[in-house]
């Protein structure tokens, strides 16, 4: 089912705007830089691209316009006729035709100039051709400017047309102006149609929706129709005539029997007879409105006769359609002011429409496809015994009691009415509270206490929680008291000890501070072991200084440290010292061995071997093999980079010219960020 929603049509730009949009798009989205020295094919391609791009854009935009506007022949004849009445089919088609021609002309221009550009032999010539091509295309658009403006106006008006579904259940309301059609539709639907005392308040069709028997009905309000020959009718009346002619709906003909609309019943009857041809095959109901001003019985005789004539016509129509000549649903009275009879009119109209539609459906061929698909199964009675429903006596009694109670129950509303009405009586919402004691029902609850919200502290389990808390509190107190018994058992400190303690504490705090600084900068600093210190912080001098500051003799410690270090070039050592030190260690060695050992350890002996030479031994047959073994060892063991030196994985290739900052067209302005 096509949804007749004309709100989705894109805005039609005016002629000048159109040209501006397309040309600026061409300027932005095609390359703009070209030089005289480029190859001629490149120059040609540059300009051909511009011409083609512009043509494509024009084609696209014009095509959307042509496609989105509805074709009057392709849509439902109701809408086709309505649009013809409102906008004049010929003008509309002409305008769209002009747009189509413009589109073709632009295509031809582009083709011609692209062909000419192939013969361009200089930048100037190609540029002139491109300027001429774009200029001609824009002139074409300028020429169709008035059509574009016209289509834009039509689009705006079309968007505000009501979306009427021509195929669903519809009720159409018609009659003279000011008889009460818009008030009626306001009463039964949620449409908010303007109701004013002057004629032709409603100037176009309005649609509202209402429900009846779980089905949705469209109610269409039309502008009033005057009794005039067909050719003299203006656009507004033609809207209602179109709706009457094309929509298969129930028709409610409104009659103002009080004459307060300014037209007599005779005139309204004349109108009825002149348009009764439009009521063929439609369930017709004649509605007499404004009976609060003038009841139907109080009418003068001639008017009553006219009304009865109309009723007779309507009954004739019903008979023609195949219904019985029952005159109940044909003439109805109501008053929209007092709401008297409004619902019954609506129900009657909906009922008749529904019956008619169901009948049509049954008569049509499609029903047979559905009919053989469902089957209502009724069980065949096996004997004549009656088996009514069986309800136990107790429940019947309970039901009766309940119904009696419901009747006798006093409602809040009655209470309100007794005690002074809506503004005076305020119901006490607390009287149904369920509390431990009934006296608490009318108590005032404080909301704020000591600056706190009372409700923040309200808790249903509050007593339980209190007990738990107290238990915990008791445990904690015990633990504390246990701890408090422990005290420091010791003598007073001497002043030197106190000094030393102060020193130690100062030292400790310094260390802690240093550690904290190190920790905070640890992310940017590689962690290297102490022996690789680059800053040469851990030297023996430092150690000596620190020890002497503490009051100790550093010399032996320094000696020991130095003796443990391995230095490549060797170091001259104090022989006497060495001997003493060695004596302490090697207590069981003889003198000969001692001297040998000394010699071996002495590093002042010159080396007789070149540095790269490898002596065979250690299970390897010759130098070559040993070399190979050493090489294999080196390859297999990866030396750890404990000194945190820069390795092959730490190489960085910076991106000095990131593409996103250097691309794109920006003739003026900086590009520091994108």
């Amino acid at each position: 089912m096509v949804q007749y929603n004309f709100k989705k049509i894109t805005v039609v730009p005016s002629g000048k705007e159109f040209v501006d949009i397309i040309l600026s798009r061409t300027q932005r989205q095609t390359p703009t830089v070209v030089h005289k020295g480029y190859a001629i094919s490149r120059l040609r391609q540059f300009y051909m691209r511009k011409v083609r791009f512009t043509q494509q854009n024009f084609h696209e935009k014009l095509s959307t316009i042509i496609e989105e506007f509805p074709r009057l022949d392709d849509i439902h004849p109701f809408y086709g006729d309505l649009l013809h009445v409102l906008y004049n089919k010929d003008h509309y088609k002409l305008a769209l035709g002009q747009i189509n021609t413009a589109r073709n002309i632009i295509g031809k221009i582009a083709k011609d100039y692209v062909r000419l550009l192939k013969y361009g032999d200089s930048l100037y010539r190609c540029k002139c051709l491109k300027v001429a091509a774009l200029g001609r295309m824009c002139t074409v658009i300028k020429r169709i400017g008035p059509s574009l403006a016209y289509l834009e106006q039509i689009r705006q008006h079309m968007a505000r047309l009501p979306s009427i579904d021509p195929n669903t259940r519809t009720i159409l309301i018609c009659g003279y102006p000011n008889v009460g059609k818009s008030s009626f539709i306001n009463k039964i639907t949620r449409a908010d149609v303007d109701v004013q005392p002057y004629a032709f308040t409603t100037k176009s069709l309005f649609v509202g929706h209402t429900d009846y028997k779980y089905l949705r009905y469209q109610v269409i309000d039309t502008p009033g129709i005057l009794d005039r020959p067909f050719e003299d009718r203006n656009i507004i009346e033609m809207c209602s005539i179109t709706a009457l002619a094309h929509l298969r709906s129930a028709v409610l003909f409104f009659l103002d029997i009080s004459g307060s609309c300014g037209y007599s019943i005779a005139q309204q009857a004349a109108l009825f007879h002149s348009i009764k041809s439009l009521f063929m095959n439609k369930p017709l109901i004649i509605v007499c409105n404004k009976i609060d001003l003038q009841p139907l019985d109080g009418l003068p005789e001639e008017d009553v006769k006219l009304v009865m004539e109309m009723k007779a016509e309507a009954i004739k129509a019903v008979v023609a359609q195949g219904g019985e000549p029952n005159d109940e649903g044909v003439l109805l009275t109501m008053s929209t002011l007092t709401d008297d009879g409004v619902i019954s009119v609506k129900n009657a109209a909906c009922e008749r429409l529904l019956n008619q539609r169901v009948e049509m459906k049954m008569k049509s061929k499609k029903i047979n496809d559905c009919l053989n698909r469902f089957h209502v199964a009724i069980p065949k009675p096996r004997d004549n015994k009656e088996r009514p429903t069986c309800i136990p006596q107790a429940i019947l009694e309970a039901r009766a009691k309940e119904s009696k109670e419901m009747e006798n129950r006093k409602l809040e509303r009655d209470l309100e009415n007794e005690n002074g009405g809506a503004g005076v009586y305020s119901a006490s919402l607390r009287k149904h509270y369920i509390l431990a004691s009934d006296e608490w029902k009318e108590d005032i609850m404080p909301e704020i206490l000591d600056g706190h919200n009372v409700y923040d502290f309200v808790d249903p389990d509050i007593l339980q929680r209190l007990e738990e808390l107290e238990r915990e509190e008791g445990l904690r107190l015990e633990a504390e008291s246990y701890e408090a018994e422990f005290e420091i058992d010791g003598k007073e400190l001497t002043p030197e000890e106190r000094e030393a303690l102060a020193e130690i504490r100062k030292k400790k705090s310094l260390l802690i501070q240093e550690h904290r600084i190190k920790k905070s900068t640890a992310e940017s600093r590689p962690t290297i072991p102490r022996k690789f210190d680059k800053d040469r912080k851990f030297t023996t001098e430092r150690m000596g200084r620190q020890l002497s500051s503490l009051g100790l003799d550093p010399s032996s410690a320094i000696y020991r440290a130095r003796s443990r270090s391995i230095s490549r070039n060797g170091r001259k050592r104090d022989r006497s010292f060495a001997r003493d030190g060695d004596d302490a260690e090697a207590m069981d060695i003889d003198d000969e061995h001692k001297s040998k050992k000394l010699r071996l350890r002495s590093t002042s002996r010159s080396r007789s071997r070149p540095p790269g030479e490898v002596i065979p031994g250690e299970g390897l047959k010759d130098s070559a093999q040993k070399l190979k073994a050493i090489k294999i060892k080196k390859k297999s063991e990866k030396v750890r980079n404990k000194a945190a030196r820069r390795g092959e994985a730490d190489r960085v290739i910076p991106n000095l010219k990131p593409k996103h900052l250097f691309s794109g067209k920006r003739s003026i302005g900086k590009t520091q960020r994108r």
Partner: protein
């Protein structure tokens, strides 16, 4: 869904917002500043377009303001003189007699024979041969250079067939062949799209005339039966000369002025 004139209906029922008029007034007052800010900020092609538009608007504003200003100076009032109006003392004179008309026709015929006309563009820029022709190499080794391709707009008659490609020396590409020209009538000031009958004379040389090349200043013959001109004798004029006023190869069309 909103239907009909729902905006007006809402206005009728609920009126305007409490601050509607004040906001509207202030918004309009602010537009001046916003426009100025845009004019100062807009760069590039958009700025130029805006500046041009704004200049035109300002010029118009100034004119209207000047018109509305009351001025105490007295100005000479010049009524527009119609073309062809003559002062009173020159009325009642027959400017041309029949004899004169006849002699004019004879003079024109003589001029035609001599090959001299009064044309709107008496002098045109000479076009060199290398600008007019492009050398095409041919032959198995592409060494022969006797073929030439015309790079300007040309006209070939309706019954034109090319010489066999092996022998044709001057190639006139079909993309550069034109059959119609936009001819302006100098007195009526309107332009018609007329068919070309032939190229009468190209000022650059007789060779170009014979080739049918149309450059600026070329005199062409156009089919003016559309205009419905009639000779004094009663015969219908269907061919007239026109001179080309633009460079057709740069504009893709031939603009000409009718020689009356």
């Amino acid at each position: 869904m909103p239907q009909g004139d729902y905006i007006e209906l809402h206005r009728k029922r609920h009126g305007y917002r409490l601050d509607h008029f004040e906001r509207k007034r202030k918004k309009e007052a602010r537009e001046v500043h916003e426009r100025a800010a845009y004019a100062q900020k807009a760069l590039g092609i958009k700025g130029k377009i805006f500046a041009k538009k704004r200049y035109a608007e300002k010029a118009l504003m100034k004119k209207t303001l000047a018109m509305h200003d009351e001025s105490t100076t007295r100005r000479k009032v010049d009524d527009n003189v119609q073309d062809g109006a003559i002062p009173a003392y020159l009325l009642d004179r027959d400017t041309t007699t029949r004899a004169k008309v006849l002699s004019n026709t004879i003079k024109q015929k003589r001029k035609e024979k001599a090959g001299k006309w009064e044309v709107p563009l008496p002098k045109v820029r000479p076009v060199a041969e290398d600008e007019m022709f492009k050398v095409l190499r041919s032959g198995k080794r592409k060494t022969k250079q006797w073929k030439r391709m015309v790079t300007k707009a040309t006209f070939v008659g309706p019954g034109f067939t090319r010489k066999p490609p092996k022998y044709e020396r001057f190639i006139r590409p079909s993309g550069l062949r034109f059959t119609k020209a936009h001819v302006t009538h100098p007195e009526l000031k309107c332009t018609f799209n007329l068919e070309i009958i032939g190229v009468k004379k190209n000022p650059n040389g007789p060779m170009y005339t014979s080739l049918g090349v149309m450059t600026k200043g070329t005199v062409i013959e156009v089919n003016v039966s559309e205009l419905g001109l009639v000779t004094p004798a009663g015969k219908v004029v269907w061919g007239k000369y026109a001179q080309v006023t633009n460079n057709p190869e740069n504009d893709g069309c031939i603009n000409a002025v009718l020689l009356v």
